[in-house]
Amino acid sequence: MDNNENIRIDALEDNENAADTPKEEVVAEEAAETAPEQSMTSKIMSEKDIEKVTTAQRIVKIAFTTLTYVFLGLMALIVLFPFYWMLISSLKSLPEYQLTVPTLFPKVIMWSNYVEAFNMANLGTLFLNTMYVGIVSTLLSLVITVLSAFAFARLEFKGKNALFAALLGTMMIPGELFTVTNYITVTAFHWQYTFTALIVPFLVSVFYIYLLRQNFLQIPNELYLAAKVDGTSDLKYLWKVMIPLALPSLISITILKMMGAWNSYVWPRLVANDEAHRLISNGLRTAFTDVASGQTNYPVQMAACTVVSIPLFLVFIFFRKYIMKGVSRSGIKG
């Protein structure tokens, strides 16, 4: 949720149309194969030499491919292992978790850890708080973004380009610079310990306005003019034509915004870290250490981590395309 969009967002757009050209490849391979054939006729190489070269090359190629797969497999294992560890740890009993040599699969599956996680960390409340903040801020943010993007893409007014450039300029400033004054502002408004403090300061994202404006610009202006001739109102046109056409971008924005609420930690900790308004990341970090003994029930902690991670994975499975597209353009997390 921190306002840390990056510069050079459009650096990637050129690559999106990168299409594979299998035909050219085939032609080129044929060319590569016919080249040695020609030399074969020219007595310089005997047929046997060629066979030797090609089998040697083939062995090198197979070895290289194997090596590539081994490397990728190993890296994939490293990437996946923490998730696996989280899952199996969440199902172990505390004594099993504390064994000198860790087991790679729980001997007795302890579903009760999950029940305990919900009770100990108050996960239910944390979930509801986070969902509330996520949904409200996404909806409001979408309305504001659509209206602004429409104004920048379709309407003419004095100082439009200067204003747009100024907005883009603010994207270069790290969010921490805003945080100091925003904290003071939120305190002055008496918004501390309210959901308002978690929602309102981050409603406008210049990056989302930029993203959607680019999308709106691709819709031919003639459609707008035709709608005007028919006497369609701006809002109706926006709702019936532009929003359906820009749906993929809107979905990307929605998902990234929801993920932002799910993952935000620093700002909520600063302004609303009380029982009633705490968000999931903040609750997660502090809930499982028993203050009196300093002991942590790790399996229960891992169960809570799993519960927090699962919605993100589900969203990822269903909306992979939108997430990856949005991310590659922005370089932001949340």
Binding site: F64, W85, T179, V180, V266
Partner: protein
């Protein structure tokens, strides 16, 4: 007439965004500079009617604060270690992914997974992998229940258990854990961008190299890297910007004390320093620290762009 009607409407549509941007973006830029120049500014005191002297005391105080050098040192160290490491690993994975056909999509999805995680949750998972469970850790008569997963793995190769993150652990062990976690966390974005760049490279370059039977490493260093250099620049610049703002990964592994038990604050970063000052109501210090951080990020980005302009091939 149409024009004036349109501009009236445009400002209406823009008004919610502009009002919010004025309060939460434009005003902070002005105000942060203002209060950084008011000596020992406290917003609560100002609301109570206090006035403050104009001067650079906040900057002097922040820079001479002993924790400042710790925070700056940690931040720079983490940046210098993680940015090249994660970029090189991501580049290798992206090139390998680009060279295969079967399983490419599956592996690509796997490598993107760390991105869609809650960094606090997964940071805690990393913490448990390095964690030693026992009592009296760090003292003479310590009783260890388990050395934890990672120590068991390295023990398999005959390496003595290392105290990574617990009480009495060494600074460099802490840094090693952070580097591993940050690199793991940073890979997906970099792989995504670099793979996108690789798929955009015209195949003809490789075909030409094939006809000349150019060796693979030469293809890599003479074709792939130069043609990918805009993407590499992009990835490195965003990594440096993110690196200078490192904070929640340390909280995830070491907790809000920003260090192992008994050595709290040892792993504090620049962003941590800003939040510490804020929560102690030292607003003047916080804004001075934020401006210093902005200046550092700005200079580093400029250097990055200058260096890459010299080496980037379009």
């Amino acid at each position: 007439m149409v024009d004036s009607k349109q501009s009236w409407k445009a400002w209406l549509y823009l008004s919610p965004a502009l009002v919010l941007l004025l309060i939460f973006t434009a005003w902070p830029i002005v105000n942060t500079v203002r209060i950084s120049l008011l000596e020992n500014y406290k917003s609560l005191a100002e609301l109570g009617g206090a006035t403050f002297n104009f001067g650079f005391a906040n900057f002097v105080n922040v820079v001479t604060f002993p924790d400042f050098l710790t925070a700056l040192g940690n931040t720079v160290l983490l940046c210098v270690l993680t940015v090249p490491l994660s970029t090189i690993i991501a580049l290798l994975i992206a090139v390998a992914l680009n060279s295969i056909k079967p399983l490419q999509k599956v592996l690509q999805t796997i490598f993107f997974l760390p991105y869609v995680t809650n960094s606090i949750a997964i940071g805690m998972v990393f913490m448990t992998m390095f964690n030693i469970i026992g009592t009296n850790l760090g003292s003479e008569n310590q009783i260890v229940t388990t050395f934890g997963l990672i120590n068991n793995v390295i023990g398999f190769f005959g390496i003595e258990p290392i105290n990574w993150i617990n009480a009495g652990s060494s600074y460099w062990a802490n840094i090693a854990v952070l580097v591993i976690y940050i690199v793991w966390d940073a890979l997906p974005f970099k792989i995504l961008v670099l793979l996108g760049g690789l798929q955009g490279i015209n195949k003809q370059y490789y075909d030409a190299a094939k006809i000349d039977s150019t060796p693979k490493w030469r293809v890599f260093s003479r074709i792939t890297v130069p043609l990918l250099s805009p993407m590499i620049t992009y990835v490195v610049i965003t990594a440096f910007i993110g690196g200078f703002k490192e904070y929640s990964s340390i909280v995830a592994i070491f907790g809000e004390d920003m260090g192992p038990a008994g050595a709290g604050g040892r792993l504090n970063t620049m962003v941590g320093l800003i939040y510490d000052s804020l929560s102690q109501n030292m607003d003047g210090w916080a804004s001075a620290a934020a401006l210093i951080l902005f200046a550092i990020i700005f200079v580093v980005t400029m250097i990055n762009m200058y260096v890459s302009k010299k080496n980037t091939h379009y």
